[in-house]
Amino acid sequence: MKSESPLGKTATLLVQQELEKFGETKGVTSAVLLTSDGFEVAALKMDKESASKLAAMGSSLAAIGSAIAKEASLKECSRLIVESEEGVVAVMEVPNVTPPMSLAVVANDASILGQLLWAAKNCCLGLEKKLKELITA
């Protein structure tokens, strides 16, 4: 089983900074950047075990989302939201990165859905930019 992040140390640090910035969003309790096959790349406010678990579950959700979108003749599934009285879990794709990655975020009932999704989307775009810069550098 893999124990290391698929990114190098510099990339992991930059990714972590993006997650820290996102973590300031109201209601966010944790987040994990994951590969599409369920490995944790970086995590925010989570221990290693919880992050690994959320990474695996997040990737399964994203894969089911893509399969359903395909069945419904939709082009892709860019975001998936699990809502409950106590909070929200959202999994969204980080566009144009290799290997393919998603961001899974967990927020409590203090969060405002629109604000959370907006911040998460910006985080994904920030991650895309940082990872692209690293590749072209």
């Binding site: 096959d37 399964s60 399969a67």
Partner: protein, 186 residues
């Protein structure tokens, strides 16, 4: 409107990464199978391009108008949370193994134990990539099962061949039927 199938069976294909679960379901499904394949970044574990992150799904209609729903599990332990979800209301389990893998025996133990040793629901085992005309590995696996105190049907299976996979399904359906008859008589 489609005719409603008089009998429906849900069966599970499981086994380690690279054993051929997605291939097996694709080989026998009447309609295009649903897959949740994603890019595999763990080449050290298994050198293949894609891997299943959630489930595979296919279905076959039998001549008696019954329908067999085929569900494939992800093989990696990190996706273990999917196993009980997929096992809910399953009538039987097919364990697929890669006969060429150095950890073949451990894989057998792991999956047979995780999916109930055939005690909760019937189980059959298909082993692929075996050397031609050499049944020593199958015999070794059979002995291993015997030592555990379980007797499960073992087959030499090429998951790319429809007939091989259908043989596994047939064997499992026979066990399911025998099990149900036994339950009714009990």
């Amino acid at each position: 409107m489609d005719t409603v199938a008089s009998n429906e069976f849900k069966i599970i294909f499981t086994g380690p990464m690279g054993a051929g679960k997605t291939t097996a379901i694709t080989a026998i499904s009447d309609k295009a199978a649903v897959s949740t394949d994603v890019v595999n970044t763990d080449q050290a574990q298994c050198e293949k391009e894609l891997t299943t992150a959630a489930l595979d799904y296919g279905q076959i209609a039998l001549p008696d108008n019954s329908c067999v729903r085929l569900y494939g599990t992800p093989g990696q332990d990190r996706f273990r949370f999917m196993w009980p979800i997929l096992m809910k209301n399953a009538a039987g389990v097919i364990v697929l193994l890669n006969g060429d893998h150095p950890e073949l025996e451990q894989h057998l133990e792991h999956f047979v134990e995780a999916f109930g040793e055939g005690r909760d629901v019937p189980m059959v085992i298909g082993v692929g990539r075996l050397p031609e005309n050499d049944h020593s590995r199958l015999e070794r696996l059979a002995m291993q099962l015997e030592q555990r105190g379980v007797a499960l049907p073992l087959f030499d299976t090429d998951v790319r061949k429809q007939d091989d996979v259908l043989l596994l399904v047939d064997a499992l359906l026979c066990l399911i039927e025998a099990n149900d008859t036994g339950r009714m008589e009990a």
